[in-house]
């Protein structure tokens, strides 16, 4: 059930550079369970889009099926949304992006949606380097179908029924790194200070940007023994670096301290400021990121933060050499070769 939210305005709310209030980025009231990690991620998306000065109608939000995939209803009501079929959001996003390269595409999925039924599409959208942000709300279970283990559940993780998972987990961030994703990060729904700048950086990235967000399911997988519970993640979270996102028009004032901080300039001139860098990790070096993930796993820790970025990446449109204007703006004058060309073709067929 959904109902209209009362629209009151916080006295301090201010318009962003494109003239929108933060409330303009909200969605309908969530119908998820109270305390569900997914709602926090929705909140972070609202925050990120507001702060990034994205015009809501210039963003399209897409999802598959699951509790996680329901969330696009709960943020950005002024954006077009598409809740597709289970595991197939990547193909919808690909088609949509091919039709109009000028919008921002935000895809939201679950661990069931992306690591099982949709893993083929997940892998191939990465290979193609579609310019989109892809967030997996990862709770280690199938929330919507009532708590079955998912393919990201860790070996030995205990689910609500007390059963321990015996199967090797799929680490979506590691997989994304392996497949050549041009931006990979991991975060935690309970850590907005980390998550919001990561989402902002992902949305600004001119290629495929993947964020695996551990997002506890309070109803089916937040029990003792679950490695996707709030308590477990809080206790075992490691970070690559603290992170701050500076939009392109703001001046950077903080001094650069070698060894301890690093500024990554993005294609639109905005800057990703990384602080307290993990040792032996370099955000431009895919192998170091893969290594750090493996190390953290062997220590039973959850490594979060930005893992990898290639800011000079070539997205699908560049690979396909499409025209600069969106394909959906072309009409018969650009597209139809006309009778003269047809006469020549006919002649060649005689």
């Amino acid at each position: 059930m959904t109902f209209a939210k009362p629209k009151f305005r916080h006295p301090k709310s201010t318009k962003n550079k494109v003239g929108y209030l933060k409330s303009d980025y909200l969605g309908t009231v969530s119908t998820l369970c109270a305390g569900c990690g997914h709602d926090s991620i929705s909140g972070a998306i609202v925050q990120a889009c507001y702060e990034l000065d994205i015009e809501p109608h210039k963003l399209a939000k897409l999802s598959g099926i699951g509790c996680s995939s329901k969330t696009p209803a709960y943020f950005l009501s002024n954006s077009h949304g598409f809740n597709s079929v289970h595991g197939r959001m990547p193909s919808i996003a690909t088609g949509a992006n091919l039709a109009n390269k000028n919008l921002t595409y935000l895809g939201v999925s679950g661990d069931g949606d992306s690591a099982s039924i949709g893993i083929g599409q997940f892998m191939h959208v990465i290979r193609r380097n579609l310019n989109m942000t892809y967030i997996v709300m990862n709770n280690g279970c199938y929330g919507l179908t009532k708590g079955q283990d998912s393919a990201t559940a860790d070996v030995g993780s205990i689910n609500k029924t007390g059963m321990s998972n015996e199967y090797e987990p799929i680490d979506l961030a590691a997989l994304a790194l392996e497949l050549g994703s041009s931006f990979v990060a991991r975060s935690f729904s309970g850590d907005k200070t980390q998550l919001v700048p990561l989402i902002k950086a992902a949305l600004s990235h001119p290629g495929f940007a993947f964020i695996d967000v551990i997002s506890p399911c309070v109803t089916f997988n937040n029990n003792v023994g679950s490695t996707k519970s709030y308590d477990f993640v809080r206790e075992h979270m490691e970070v690559t670096s603290s992170i701050d996102f500076v939009p392109h028009k703001d001046e950077i004032t903080v001094d650069y301290q070698p060894g301890h901080r690093m500024d990554v300039e993005l294609h639109d001139g905005s800057v990703l400021k990384l602080d307290k860098l993990a040792p032996n990790w370099n955000p431009f070096d895919r192998n170091s990121a893969i290594g750090q993930l493996q190390l953290a796993k062997s220590r039973n820790e959850v490594l979060t933060g930005l893992l990898f970025i290639d800011e000079n990446t070539k997205d699908l449109h560049k690979k396909l050499n499409t025209v600069d204007v969106p394909l959906n703006t072309l009409n018969h004058t650009n597209l139809c070769p006309g009778q003269d060309a047809l006469d020549k073709i006919n002649d060649n067929l005689r």
């Binding site: 083929g120 070769p337 006919n346």
Partner: protein, 606 residues
């Protein structure tokens, strides 16, 4: 047995030996002589080494369907000699490579054997083995030209045209042609009883395969996004689309593409991309065959229910399962018409020749946008992968694309409340918006779950019923937009009718002549689309007995008619052909004659 411009010739080759080009030149030369041709490839699901056949029906009368019984076999593949020789009609010819002696056991008294040392001639004239192989094909082309009295100058013209882009190949091909031609003239009895003669029965026709025509229709119809996954017999729709796009759709100033083609990871993804692109206002299509459509079912339901345009080309092959991947059938009628779970039905178009492939694929893009629903073009392997003589392509330049009910920013400003699924015009088709159109108006949430007129999630039974009932109003609107059937009426009023669609057309029209010769009067209707238009129902009402001719086992079109029209099954007789070869006029006419004789005898006995 003497026959001019009316016989069937078959080339028996080995897959992967380059025979296709020689065979194509043969058919095209006869066409250029002004004589109608109907070529067919008969090939295995294999790349190299297995037998393939290429058959050409030559018909002054313009009969373009397959005909049983072969008059001449050019046997280049010893593996299949036994079957090839057995397939020849009494009085026919077996033209074979006698570089090696033919074993006595192969001989038949009632046919002629013409030996031409094709391989030996190739070895004598060429040293490199690849050339020996390739030119052997042109040598037999020369030999057969001599035998059927085909003017070698016409063949040369065809060669010149075929290799216009690779002019270096022209003269060597001429030489090989002459080697075969001259040898045969000098050493064999030329011409044989089956001959060709210049005629004027091809008019302004062209020769093209259905898949290339479909692809061209998609280019002209404004498709900008194509997503596909390889599968016989549809693959060449995508490859031809790509070829035509590179020729016709590259922006001259920037060198950039006015199109995007993606070879998807599977058919699920291919149709997902098409749905995403159409949702976002581009014209997108996918092409596949039965197995692909099966995989696409879930998404087809989403597009139907969320009302997103989709253009889907289904080039049917023999099913079920992997079935007969290189043979033709019309066996996906039901699975396409009602594709997906829940109550769904989809617009189908049935092209029967390449000209209609061109028209209907362009039309499909318009109809999909107009009706905001999947539109499936039902081609088949025979149509898609064989060349057909067909009317030239024409494009009405005065017509812009029909993008359907899409609101722009100004229009959105004018309306008070936008309801994505609000039936404003009462034709079942509602207004849609494209993402990015307006800063504050027109955004909505697309979903496959039930929703109300404002695209809001709703589990209310009456919202759901209202929605799916409106889709039936849209279905009624579709009946007014799809192509009407084509009729061919008997000279006098008759209670009998025959009904057919797609590639059955060729054999069906020939059947009318055959039945006419036997004094049987019958009206014919060629169905071009589903949903059925009123003209189809009138035809059904106006006849007492109707033969439904189709190329599947289960009489799928007949079921569709009975189901959609609540039509009396007793009045519909089935003529079914489903061995994977294209249906013939002989098969149809004997089936109808037998059925009518039987009922006449029955009524006499009463």
């Amino acid at each position: 047995m003497y026959s001019v411009n009316d016989f069937v010739i078959r080339f028996a080759n080995v897959n992967g030996t380059g025979s296709a080009s020689a065979n194509g030149i043969f058919a095209k030369s006869i066409f250029r002589l002004g004589v109608p041709i109907a070529p067919k490839n008969i090939f295995p699901s294999n790349i190299q080494g297995l037998p393939t056949w290429y058959e050409v029906r030559i018909s002054e009368k313009g009969y373009l369907g397959r005909r049983d019984g072969i008059d001449i076999v050019v046997g280049v593949n010893p593996q299949t000699y036994a079957d090839d020789i057995a397939s020849i009609k009494s009085g026919g010819y077996f033209v074979y490579d006698n570089s090696k002696r033919l074993h006595d056991s192969f001989f038949r008294e009632d046919i002629h054997f013409v030996g031409v040392p094709m391989m030996k001639l190739a070895m004598d004239n060429y040293t490199d083995s690849r050339k020996q192989q390739l030119f052997k094909n042109i040598i037999y082309l020369g030999a057969i030209s001599a035998l059927i009295d085909l003017d070698i100058e016409i063949v040369k013209e065809t060669i010149a045209k075929t290799f216009a882009r690779k002019p270096k190949l022209i003269v060597p091909n001429y030489e090989a042609l002459e080697i075969g031609y001259n040898y045969t003239k000098e050493n064999c009895n030329c011409p044989i009883d089956f001959r060709v003669r210049k005629s004027d029965k091809t008019g302004d026709s062209i020769v093209i395969d259905g898949n290339a025509a479909t692809a061209l229709g998609l280019v002209y119809g404004g498709a900008t996004v194509g997503a596909w996954y390889p599968i016989t017999p549809s693959t060449s729709v995508a490859s031809s689309f790509e070829k035509y796009c590179h020729k016709l759709r590259v922006d001259k100033e920037t060198g950039k593409n006015n199109f995007a083609i993606v070879q998807a990871e599977d058919e699920l993804s291919a149709i997902g991309m098409v749905i995403g692109a159409n949702w976002n206002g581009a014209r997108a299509f996918t092409a596949t065959s039965g197995p692909g459509v099966s995989l696409m079912n879930e998404f087809i339901g989403l597009a139907y229910f969320a009302e997103i345009p989709v253009t889907l080309i289904n080039v049917q092959r023999g099913g079920p399962s992997t079935g007969m991947p290189t043979r033709s059938q019309q066996a996906d009628i039901i699975s396409s018409a009602y594709a997906s779970h829940g109550d769904t039905k989809h617009v189908l178009l049935f092209p029967s020749n390449p000209t209609e492939c061109f028209q209907f694929s362009a039309l499909a893009l318009d109809l999909a946008d107009r009706l905001q629903t999947p539109v499936i073009v039902m081609s088949d392997l025979d149509l898609g992968m064989n060349e057909h003589m067909t009317a030239p392509f024409k494009w009405d330049e005065t017509k812009a694309y029909d993008k359907g009910k899409v609101l722009n920013a100004e229009e959105l400003d004018e309306i008070e409340v936008f309801g994505r699924y609000l039936d404003v015009d009462k034709d079942g088709i509602t207004y849609r918006t494209i993402p990015g159109t307006h800063p504050t108006k027109g955004s909505y949430f697309t979903r496959g779950t039930s929703h109300n007129e404002y695209a809001k999630y709703s589990e209310a039974g009456d919202d759901y019923v209202k929605k799916v009932d409106r889709l039936l109003i849209k279905w009624e609107t579709a009946k007014k937009l799809v192509p009407k059937p084509r009729f061919e009426n008997a000279a006098s009023k008759t209670p009998y009718g025959m009904l057919f669609f797609g590639t059955t057309n060729y054999a069906a029209y020939e059947t009318l002549d055959l039945l006419g010769e036997n004094g049987i009067q019958i009206d014919a209707m060629s169905i071009k689309a589903f949903p059925f238009t009123t003209e189809i129902f009138e035809f059904l009402e106006n006849h007492e007995r109707i033969f439904v001719i189709e190329q599947n086992r289960d009489a799928q079109m007949r079921s569709l008619i009975i189901n959609e029209y609540n039509y009396d099954p007793k009045k519909l007789d089935s003529i079914l052909h489903y061995d994977g070869t294209p249906i013939t006029a002989h098969y149809i006419s004997t089936s109808i004659s037998k059925a009518l004789n039987k009922s006449e005898k029955q009524s006499q006995a009463l």
